[in-house]
Every structure is written in structure tokens, then in C-alpha cells.
């Protein structure tokens, strides 16, 4: 149902012309359409002009022994432009709340917020990797267009209101990702990463599709809002066992994609193998999209899917555990809804595995992979609260995580010269950081502040994120997860301060020279650094910006209203 125009909106054309049936629908998704068209047009542009440049490049190569990157610069700049235009279009979209295309796509404040986050993260990760792409001889403009296409598919993913559109969007996104992971064709790590990602990704997509079909088979519905209605209106003794299993499959499929434990095993390999610019993109953007989707899927559609008989984790009966802990466990796992149980388990496991796994890593990208697994654990706390505070905390954390990750990758993507190696390199091992404080103290302090923030030390940004999360967990009586979250912070601190220790206290192990940090990386570093450092001046700013969860509150209220009426 299309909402009428807001009050201050006046149609420009007031002549009597035929209104196209889906006109408002197209207006709603105009930014996405623009994004899609931009990617296609840029592809055409690239294909047409690459040949001309290729010819030039050949002559250059032959005559002057110069190896110019082909088309990458142009297309990257154009893609950045496209992102910016999409942002502008999104902010100026006249229709903010709508359900369109026969309940296939939906648009509201939460979705709008997530979309903005996604575009920002994609934009920033393209910006910080400009220099990398140029110097690392990833001589293919398709790379950057694939990023654009993946972002576009994530925009669709987050606004999808139907199982089918959801599946289509996530497949498009995954296909782009497989190619991106394997993009550095002359590196066996990258190929391996691509292959691993493809096999496991295809498997998880299969699981997801299976879950969707189970839900469809048992309820006859693929639409999210219809699912909400049907689950909230069931009586006491009606159990959707099949749908429950379907929901579990859907959850597992998605948990694969956001690298939650126990579905995380591919993450370190893929993060390490793929080109660093792609890793930066992987680390942030899909998580925002899928967690945004989770909020709508589990906080509203599957929220009332409740069958105690079919699936209840009675962990509390283990013998030899002290009674208080026993009580805590049983309270945690019996009083919660089925979907909450899944996420509770994954959240606790992710936090612990993320912290423990990162302790003994030697390569920085693997370490960051584990760190992001840990962060996913924290995000899932916000999700499994099932309250508005929880979602708000989740969104706040996403913002802060976005900023911190962009910051760290901007440092990793800055060029470095290594002894005995001719070409420009990047920081690869964590022992490379040992030169940082001696040669580039400003980068070192940025890195240290960022790591302290990731570890959740006050007064830096990461602390406020964790504070809101723990608070929301406490307020809905998820004590166990809150306590584990607190202790996992201490555990994760061990390896974060190990990085600080390497960059500050250790003798130089690897002889590296930092080249000039690219200008755009410098700007982004400066901005994100100040955000991390000075968020405590007004921690509520993030809170205000995520107050859009109000709209979700209304939806929950409506659902409760329906439930009350039928009970």
C-alpha cells in the first residue's frame, strides 16, 4: 500500500497526464534503480573504453616500459560518484514509508537507516582502497563495478519483504562476493579464498532456500508481514513444527553469511586470501545488511513462532554445575523464544571463539577476521534481546563498528615498502606493526586508540557501543549473555593490547618503511579517529540517530494488538 505524499510535498506537474500504475513504486526504489543502472552503464563504459586504453597501454608498455593501470581510476571515481548520487537520491526520496510491488519490497525508517549505513560503508571502503587498487595492479575495472552491484543487491536485500525477493537479492550479493574474493587471480590465496567462499556460500544459500521452502510448504506464505500475522494468531496448541525447522534453516543460512560461530570457519581464510580492499568491504557491509534483515525477520516475522514442545534447549540439567549457574542457564534458555535461543547460543559462542581464536594469530587480516567474529557475537546480543533498546544498541554498534573497521583498514591499506622486495606492499603480519611508533607516531596513536576502542575501553567509542548492548541485555534479563559479553571483553583485550604492545614497545622486527599515506585515507583516518576519540562528548548522538527504531516499536505494538485480540 502506498502512502500518500507527505504534507509538504507538492507534485511538480499538475497537468492531467496519465499516472503510470507503478509510478510511486518506482519513485520509492529510485535510488536502487539508479544504482543498478549505474553499475550496468559503467560496465558498458568500461568494456567499450578498456580496449582503447588497452591499445594505449600496449604502446606505453612497449615504448616507455610503463605499466599503467587500465581504467581503474576512471571507473573508481565514477563509482564513488554513483554512490554519492545514490545517497543524495535516498535522502531526497519523497516516499519514505511504503510497501511496494505487491508486497515484495518495503521501505521504512529502519530500512532507510540501514541503507544509508550500507552505502556509507561501501563508499568509504572504496575510498580507502583507491590507492591499493592502483598500486597492487588489480588491473580490472570490473572489481569496482562488482562492488557497486553487490551494494545495490544489499540495498534490495534489506528492503525485501518477501522470501523470494530476499533470496534473489542475497544470491546476487553472494555471486558478486565470490568473484570479489577470488579477484587477485595471480595469488593462490585469493583463488583459495574464492573457492572456499563459493563452496560454503553455495551450501549456505542452499540451506537458506531449503528453509524458505519449508516455511512456504507449511504455511503457504512467503511474505514477511503475512507470516507475522499467521504466527501471532496461532492458538495455544497449534504448533508450526515444520515452519520452526524452516526458520532454523533460514537462520543458519544467514548466520553462515555473517560469520557467526559455529558457522565461522571460512571467515579467516577468506578474509586473509581476498584482496585487502575486498576484505574491508566484506568485514562491514554484508553484516549491516543481514543484521538489518534479521531485525525485520526475527523481531517481527518469526517473533511469535513459539513451540515449546518441539525445540527447547534444556541445558540446565547438566550435573556437576553449581546451582546458581544452573538457574541462570535454565532461566536464560527456557524463558526465551526459539529464535532467541539460536541467537543466544551463537552470540555467546561467537564472543568466546572470536576472543580465543584471535590470540595466536600472526597475520593481521586473520586477526581482524576473528575480531569481527567477536563483534558479530556482540551484535547478536542486541538482536536476541527482542526489545527496542536491543535493536537500538545493535544499530549504534553497527555505526561504531563501521567507523572502527574503516579506520583500521585505512591503516592496513596504506602503502609500505619492505626490505628486499621491490614492489609496494601492505602491512601483512602483526609484527610489521613494530615499526609504526618509531617511524610514524601519528598512525601509531591512531591505531592504538582504535584498538583500545575495539577492546571496549572507556571513554572511546567502542565502550559506549558495548555499554548500550550490555544495558539492553540486562534490561530484558539476559544475564548470562551480558556476563559472558563482559568477560569476553577482557579476553579480547588481551590480543588487542598485544597489538598495541607490538606497535609501541617492541623492537623493530621487520624492516619496513611507511610511504606517504594516501590523501583520502588520511582524511578518512582523521575523521574516524576523532569520532572514536570524542564520541564520549555526546554518546547520545548515536542514540538519537537510531531513534528510528520507534517505527519498529509501532510495528511490534500492532503485532501485540493483533495477538491480544486473538487471545
Amino acid at each position: 500500500m502506498v502512502q500518500p505524499f507527505p504534507d509538504d510535498f507538492k507534485p511538480v506537474l499538475e497537468t492531467d497526464f496519465q499516472i503510470f500504475l507503478f509510478e510511486n513504486h518506482f519513485k520509492t526504489v529510485f535510488p536502487e534503480i539508479f544504482c543498478l543502472f549505474a553499475s550496468v552503464l559503467l560496465l558498458i563504459y568500461g568494456v567499450l573504453y578498456a580496449r582503447i586504453h588497452q591499445a594505449n597501454a600496449d604502446t606505453l608498455r612497449r615504448k616507455m616500459k610503463i605499466f599503467p593501470p587500465i581504467m581503474v581510476n576512471h571507473v573508481s571515481l565514477l563509482v564513488i560518484l554513483a554512490f554519492l548520487l545514490t545517497l543524495i537520491l535516498m535522502f531526497n526520496n519523497p516516499i519514505m514509508h511504503a510497501t511496494i510491488f505487491y508486497n515484495t519490497l518495503v521501505c521504512d525508517d529502519l530500512i532507510f537507516f540501514c541503507k544509508i549505513l550500507i552505502i556509507c560503508s561501501a563508499l568509504l571502503s572504496v575510498c580507502i582502497s583507491l590507492d591499493y587498487v592502483r598500486k597492487q595492479a588489480l588491473n580490472a575495472f570490473e572489481y569496482i563495478i562488482l562492488l557497486l552491484l553487490a551494494t545495490c543487491s544489499m540495498l534490495f536485500l534489506i528492503s525485501s519483504a518477501d522470501m523470494i525477493s530476499m533470496y534473489l537479492a542475497i544470491e546476487l550479493q553472494s555471486l558478486c562476493f565470490y568473484v570479489l574474493a577470488a579477484f587477485k587471480r595471480n595469488s593462490e590465496f585469493s583463488t583459495e579464498a574464492g573457492l572456499k567462499y563459493f563452496v560454503l556460500g553455495a551450501f549456505s544459500s542452499g540451506v537458506l532456500l531449503f528453509g524458505c521452502s519449508l516455511i512456504y510448504g507449511f504455511t503457504g506464505i512467503t511474505n514477511f508481514s503475512e507470516l507475522t500475522k499467521i504466527f501471532s494468531c496461532t492458538g495455544e496448541n497449534q504448533h508450526f513444527t515444520g515452519a520452526l525447522i524452516g526458520m532454523i534453516f533460514v537462520a543458519v543460512g544467514f548466520l553462515f553469511k555473517i560469520t557467526a560461530v559455529p558457522f565461522h570457519t571460512w571467515a579467516p581464510d577468506v578474509y586473509e586470501g581476498s584482496p585487502t580492499s575486498v576484505t574491508a568491504f566484506f568485514a562491514i557491509t554484508p553484516k549491516i545488511a543481514i543484521l538489518g534483515l534479521f531485525v525485520r525477520l526475527f523481531e517481527s516475522s518469526f517473533y511469535d513462532l513459539n513451540t515449546e514442545a518441539a525445540f527447547s534447549l534444556q541445558l540446565g540439567t547438566t550435573q556437576g554445575v553449581s546451582t546458581t549457574f544452573n538457574k541462570l542457564l535454565s532461566m536464560e534458555f527456557t524463558s526465551t523464544l526459539p529464535w532467541q535461543k539460536i541467537f543466544l547460543f551463537c552470540s555467546i559462542a561467537s564472543m568466546i571463539v572470536g576472543a580465543l581464536g584471535a590470540m595466536n594469530q600472526k597475520k593481521i587480516k586473520r586477526l581482524l577476521a576473528y575480531s569481527s567474529i567477536g563483534h558479530v557475537g556482540y551484535f547478536l546480543i542486541g538482536l536476541c534481546c527482542g526489545t527496542v533498546e536491543g535493536i537500538q544498541a545493535l544499530l549504534i554498534n553497527l555505526i561504531i563498528y563501521l567507523v572502527m573497521t574503516i579506520n583500521i583498514f585505512a591503516i592496513i591499506l596504506s602503502p609500505v615498502r619492505r626490505d628486499f622486495v621491490h614492489s609496494v606492499q601492505r602491512i601483512k603480519y602483526i609484527s610489521d606493526l613494530s615499526v609504526l611508533f618509531k617511524t610514524n607516531p601519528i598512525l601509531a596513536i591512531t591505531l592504538a586508540v582504535n584498538f583500545f576502542s575495539m577492546a571496549g575501553l572507556p571513554p572511546l567509542a567502542g565502550f559506549w557501543g558495548k555499554y548500550y548492548l550490555l544495558f539492553s541485555a540486562f534490561s530484558c534479563e539476559l544475564y548470562l549473555v551480558a556476563i559472558v559479553g563482559g568477560l569476553a571483553t577482557v579476553l579480547s583485550c588481551v590480543y588487542y593490547i598485544r597489538l598495541v604492545h607490538i606497535s609501541y614497545f617492541e623492537k623493530i622486527q621487520n624492516r619496513l618503511i611507511f610511504e606517504r599515506v594516501p590523501k583520502i585515507n588520511g582524511w578518512i583516518l582523521a575523521i574516524t579517529f576523532f569520532f572514536i576519540l570524542f564520541l564520549f562528548v555526546s554518546p547520545g548522538a548515536t542514540r538519537r540517530s537510531t531513534s528510528i527504531t520507534r517505527s519498529l516499536l509501532q510495528r511490534i505494538e500492532i503485532r501485540d494488538h493483533i495477538t491480544d485480540r486473538h487471545a
Binding site: 607516531p441 592504538a448 583500545f452 575501553l457 572507556p458 571513554p459 572511546l460 565502550f463 555499554y467 550490555l470 544495558f471 540486562f474 534490561s475 551480558a482 556476563i483 563482559g486 568477560l487 571483553t489 577482557v490 583485550c493 588481551v494 593490547i497 598495541v500 604492545h501 609501541y504 614497545f505 564520549f536 562528548v537 555526546s538 554518546p539 547520545g540 548522538a541 542514540r543 538519537r544
Partner: protein, 480 residues
């Protein structure tokens, strides 16, 4: 702008100025840092001058309202002296590194100025959450100070221990704060002060707070980090650790645990008494065995801080005032002793007792000062510690004579280890190893010590002017 706000911001402004001074102008950097911190000390004396002794109200209060964050900063008779102590110690820290710190001078000064701001903010913050925030954020500069300017390779381990121990306790405290916030919906101290918590909840929250403060004090099972951190930190780091950071724990007990959870405090008093007495006796005996001069002072700090705990939980105004006095005097005497060890270390590059001997022949002025501070550490009458310990014992004697008796053994033990250490360094035959390279105190060092001498004697001779300012606040905390 109120004095308090300017005291908080002066060091930060100093650090900002330093940020734009080029690295190689080390003399200029040191001068700026010293002047800024001295200016801040003078400003903090203004606090004392304008302080109204006759009220328990929070003074110099400055409330910051904004949509997202509103809090009050203010001081009462308790936090007043801690702020002055902080501003007193920071110039000394910069002065002590004047010659010895040769690399990263700018970073050194910036770290100490930022640390100063954070510590002052801890003492004047009347918001539980922000107290926690600043309480924790002290870790970051301190971690870097120990790790970068520490003396040996073992410093890494020390920095780790310091960090992880403290963080572990603090995270548990954060959970306690969240419980409070869930009940009351605010973390403002003055509102919490009027809030009643149920007994069961008091016990839980008190225990979470205890986890954090006990690490900072440090109480007995979690005191391992302290000797390590003290030994490995640079002299200035030890000064701040002994002078201020240890007081954060006891200050937290005094400011939050006792007034907010009186029932739980009573409930846990026997536990605290037991732990503290074990700590006092155990660490005193441990101290006697130590051969590292810094470790001797570090362990004796543990003993003294546990006497402070006993005084706090005697739950009468004499005991509490005594422990505040003891905190202050320990905050003067213990840093002074660390400075003495620093002076020795700068000359001989070792801290082990057996390399020293007969210093009284080669460094007479130094030995006089060292003797004075050793005597103060033993709590000789007319020195600072005596007043505090006497009041503590008197206070706890009203409450529990056995505890008073056992804790008073610390005076004998401290006599044992302090005199032993002093005797090993100052007396005996001159050790021939370094006889050619001796030198007595330089002018800088002498002027560094003079304020400590003055304050030690001042606290010991006329403690009344300190006690006057804290009567009302202490009575207020005890709800008398």
C-alpha cells in the same frame, strides 16, 4: 568559568599546545609541561582557599546538561585533597624525568598531562557511569607509560598484568552499574545517594563494585600486579601509581560503596577485616624478604592501603578521617620513597639492595631525606603517616579490638622492613663498585624533594587544618 572546570581543562590545553611543538625542542616541551602543571597546582590551591569547611554540600559544582549526557562535577571535603594531591604530584613526575627521559619526551609530557586530567575528573565526577569511564580510561596512558618508559624487558609483562587485572575487575563493576541504572534510571550520585536498594541487591552490587576496587587498592589475592607494575614502571609512573591510582580504589569504597550500600558494607565488614589483616601481615613479612628497593616500597604500599581499608570500614568518623589522612600521607610519603629509589637508580642503574652500602658517606644529603621518608613510612610521630594510622587504630578500636591489635602489628613490621632497607642502603661499608661515580643530589632533585619534606612534616605536625575540611563530608557519608 569555575575553578574546578579550569583545573580539569588546563592540562588538556597544555597537552594540545605540546602537540604542536616540534619533537626536537625537548627543553621547551619540558618547560611548557612543567609550567602548565605548576599552574594547575596553584589553581587547585585556590580550591582549598575558597572551600567552605562548614558544609557537607558539594561545592564548585558545575552541571552540564545536554540532551544526551548530563552530569555534575563538584567536590566535597574528601575529594578536595585528592585533587590537590594529583596536581601536586604531576609536576614532580615531569621534573623527575627531566634528565632521565631521553626518548619520546613529548609523548611523555603529553601522557602525564592527559593522565592528570583523567585523574582529576575521576575525583570530581558525581556521576557513577562517568566515574567508571574515567576510572577505566586512566588505564590507557598508564599502560603506555609503563610499557614505553619502563626500564626492563619484564615491563611488558607488568603492563599486561596491570591492564588485565584492572580491566577484569572493572568490567564486573560495569555490570553492577547497569543493575543500578536499571533500578533507578539514573547514575547521578546525588540521586543515588537518596535511593534505597533492597538488601539482596545491595549485596550483589556491592560485590561487583568490590571486584573493581579491590584490584585497585589492592586487596590480597589480586595484589600481584602491583609490585610488578611498580618495579617495571619508570620512577614517575611509580609516583603516580602509588600516589593516585591506589587511592582510586579506596576513594571508590568511600564515595560509593559505603554511602550507597550501607547494609552491604556492614554485611561485608568481617570479610574485609579478615582480608585486610591477612594482607597487612602477609605483605609485611613478604616485604622483609625483598631485595629490590622498589618492591620493598610497593609491598609496604599494599600494607598501608589495607590499613586504609580497615579504617574505612570501621564505620565511624574517626576511622574514616584517619584513613583519608593515611591515604594523603601515603600519597606523599610513598612517592617520595620512589623518588629516592629513582635517584639511586639514576646513578647506579640497579635497584638491588646488595649493590648498595655506605651511601651515607658518599651522599649525605640524600641519606638525610631518605631517612626522613623512611621514618615517615614507619609512621613515626610528627610525620604524616602517624596521624593517619593513629586515627585508624583509634577508630577501629571502638569497633573491634582484635582487629585493631592485629592491624597495629603493621607498625612493628614496617619498622622492621623500612629500617632494614634504609640500613642496607645507607650504612655499612662502602661498596667499592661505584665509588668513583657517586654524586649527591643535584639542585633539581633537591628542589623536587623539598615540597615532600614540607608536606610530610606539615601533615604530621598540624593535621587539624586538613581534618577541618573533611569533618562535614565524612559525617555526611556516615549519615550522622
Amino acid at each position: 568559568m569555575s575553578i574546578l572546570v579550569s583545573i580539569i581543562f588546563i592540562p588538556i590545553i597544555g597537552a594540545l599546545i605540546l602537540f604542536f611543538v616540534p619533537n626536537w625542542k625537548t627543553q621547551l616541551i619540558k618547560n611548557i609541561a612543567l609550567n602548565v602543571s605548576c599552574l594547575n597546582f596553584l589553581m587547585s590551591l585556590l580550591l582549598w582557599i575558597y572551600f567552605d569547611h562548614s558544609t557537607a554540600k558539594f561545592q564548585f559544582s558545575q552541571t552540564i546538561y545536554s540532551e544526551s549526557l548530563s552530569f555534575t562535577i563538584a567536590i566535597d571535603g574528601i575529594s578536595l585533597f585528592f585533587i590537590i594531591l594529583t596536581t601536586f604530584l604531576v609536576p614532580v613526575c615531569i621534573l623527575v624525568g627531566w634528565k632521565t627521559i631521553s626518548n619520546y619526551v613529548k609523548e611523555y609530557c603529553i601522557a602525564f598531562l592527559i593522565l592528570e586530567t583523567l585523574m582529576i575528573a575521576v575525583f570530581c565526577m558525581l556521576d557513577l557511569l562517568l566515574f567508571y569511564v574515567f576510572f577505566e580510561s586512566v588505564l590507557i596512558p598508564m599502560f603506555i607509560i609503563i610499557g614505553v618508559w619502563g626500564s626492563r624487558e619484564r615491563k611488558i609483562r607488568a603492563a599486561y598484568q596491570f591492564f588485565i587485572y584492572t580491566l577484569f575487575g572493572s568490567i564486573i563493576m560495569l555490570l553492577g552499574i547497569l543493575i543500578i541504572y536499571l533500578q533507578t534510571g539514573t547514575t547521578d550520585y546525588q540521586i543515588l545517594y537518596t535511593t534505597e536498594f533492597s538488601e539482596k541487591r545491595q549485596i550483589i552490587i556491592w560485590a561487583t563494585f568490590f571486584a573493581s576496587f579491590a584490584v585497585k587498592v589492592p586487596m590480597i589475592p589480586v595484589h600481584i600486579w602491583l609490585p610488578e607494575a611498580h618495579v617495571e614502571a619508570p620512577t614517575a609512573g611509580s609516583v603516580i601509581l602509588a600516589g593516585i591510582l591506589l587511592k582510586l580504589g579506596t576513594y571508590g569504597f568511600l564515595r560509593f560503596s559505603i554511602p550507597l550500600f550501607p547494609y552491604a558494607s556492614m554485611y561485608f565488614t568481617p570479610l574485609l577485616y579478615t582480608m585486610s589483616i591477612i594482607a597487612i601481615i602477609y605483605t609485611s613479612f613478604t616485604t622483609i624478604r625483598q631485595v629490590d628497593l622498589k618492591k620493598i616500597i610497593a609491598y609496604s604500599s599494599v600494607a598501608h592501603m589495607n590499613i586504609v581499608i580497615i579504617g574505612l570500614f570501621s564505620m565511624n568518623s574517626i576511622g574514616i578521617e584517619g584513613s583519608i589522612m593515611l591515604m594523603l600521607s601515603h600519597g606523599i610519603v610513598s612517592p617520595a620513597l620512589f623518588l629516592c629509589v629513582g635517584v639511586l637508580y639514576d646513578r647506579y642503574k640497579t635497584r638491588l639492595c646488595r649493590y648498595y652500602g655506605g651511601c651515607v658517606h658518599t651522599m649525605p644529603i640524600f641519606c638525610i631525606l631518605f631517612c626522613l621518608f623512611t621514618m615517615a613510612n614507619i609512621a613515626l610521630p610528627l610525620t604524616a603517616n602517624f596521624v593517619g594510622e593513629l586515627l585508624v587504630f583509634q577508630g577501629v578500636f571502638c569497633n573491634n579490638t582484635l582487629v585493631a591489635f592485629l592491624s597495629a602489628t603493621s607498625m612493628i613490621c614496617s619498622g622492621g622492613y623500612s629500617l632494614l632497607a634504609y640500613g642496607r642502603v645507607a650504612y655499612g661499608s662502602c661498596k667499592p663498585y661505584y665509588i668513583r661515580s657517586f654524586s649527591d643530589l643535584s639542585r633539581r632533585e633537591f628542589f623536587m624533594f623539598i615540597p615532600f619534606v614540607v608536606v610530610t612534616l606539615w601533615l604530621g605536625v598540624t593535621p587539624q587544618c586538613f581534618l577541618d575540611a573533611m569533618h562535614c563530608s565524612v559525617a555526611n557519608i556516615l549519615n550522622i
